[in-house]
Amino acid sequence: MHTIEVLGPGCNNCRRVEANAREAMVLSGAQAEVIHVTDPREIVSHGILSTPGLIIDGRIRSYGRIPSPDDIAVWLTEK
C-alpha cells in the first residue's frame, strides 16, 4: 500500500495530477491511498513553491509539472 500526496490549492492542474495518479494505479496495479494536501504551509514545508507537487511514499517525485500516468506508474512500482 502506497501513499500518494498531491500538493496544491485545488486548481485544475492539481486535479489532473490526481487523475493521472489514479490512472497510474490502474496501469501498475499498485494500491495506494491518495491524499490531497491543500494547506500552503504544508506544501511549503516540503520545499515546494510551484504547485502541483507529487509525493509518493514520502519522496518528492515532481513539482511544478504534471507527470504522465506512465511516469507515476513507474514511480509506484519502483522499489
Binding site: 492542474n13 511549503v44 504547485t51 511544478g64
Partner: protein, 349 residues
Amino acid sequence: MTSITVRRVRLPFWPAASLAVVGWLIAWFAAAPFAAWFAYDLLGLEQSSHLGDAVAFFAFDVPKVLLLLLGIVTVVTLIRGFFPPEQVRTTLVGRGEFAGTVGAAGLGIVTPFCSCSAVPLFIGFVEAGVPLGVTFAFLISSPMVNEIALVLLWGLFGPGVALVYMAAGLTVAILGGLLIGKLHMERYVEDYVWALQGTGGAAIEIKLTWEERVRDAWTYTRDLVRRIFPYVLVGIGIGAFIHGFVPTELVVAIGGPGNPLAVPLVVLIALPLYSNAAGTIPIVQALLGKGMALGTTLAFMMAITAISLPEFIILKKVIKTPLIATFATIVTIGILFVGYLFNFLMYAP
C-alpha cells in the same frame, strides 16, 4: 501484480519533435498566401472592400496567432523550466534591497507562475527570508511580463513594441517593489507566515531529461492553447470587425493621443479582463492599426495581465487588506504612468 501491463503507443520522441518543427515552419510561411487565397479567390471577395479586408484579416490572424502560441510558448516554457521558483528564491536571499528587487523583477520574466501557486510562492519566499519588497517585485513582474503577452506582441506588433512592453513592465515591477519595501508593511503579512520563517524543507532538486522537458513544455502549451483559443478566436473576430468596419476617426477620437482620458479609460476596461491577454491582443492590434495611441495600448495590455482580482483574493490568505490595496494601487499608478509617458514620448509636439 506490480508490472506495468498497459502502455500506450508513443511516437519515437526526437523524430516526432523534428517533424513538428518542419510542419510549423511550412505552416508559418503558408499563412499569408492562404489568407489572401481564402478571402479573395475562394470566397471571391473584393480586395480592399470592408468585408474582404475583415475576412482576410481573420484568415491570416487565426493561423498566425495559433502558430505563434504553439511554437513560441513551447520554447519559452522549455526555457522557463530551468528557472523554478524553488531555486530563484535561494538566488534572491541576502542580495540587498536594490539588487534583490532588480533581480526579482528580471527573474519574474523567466520563472513560471500560475496564480494558483501565488500563496505557496509568497509563503516560500518570505519564509526563506526574501524581503517583502523583493517578493512583490516578483509578484508584479511574473504575471505582467508573461510569455503569452510577449509572444503575441512580438508577432503582431514587431519586436520594438514587445521589448518596450518588457522594459515598461520591469520598470513598474522594480519601482513597485522598492516602494513596497520602503513602506515597511511587514505588519500586514499574516502572523503565521512569519512564524514559518526558517522552517522550509531542504532544497529539492529533481533532474529532468531533455525529453521530459520537451514533453512537459508541449503538454503545457497544448493545454494552454486549448483553453485560451476560444477567446483568441473571439478576439480575432472582433479585431477583424474593427479592422474592416470601424471608422478610423472614431478610434482616434476615443483612443488616440488627443484624448487625455484614454489611458485611465482603457485601464478601467481592462479590469474585468484579467489574464485574458490572448483574447484581447488581436483586438488591441486592430485598434492600434486604427490610430489608438501606443502608450494607451501598452497600459491596456499591462492592466489586463497585472491587475487580477482573483489573484488579489487568493493573496488575502497571506496578506491583509491594506497591503493588497497598496499593491493594487502601486501597480495601477505604475501602469497609468507608463501609458502617459509613452504617449508623451511618442506624440508630444
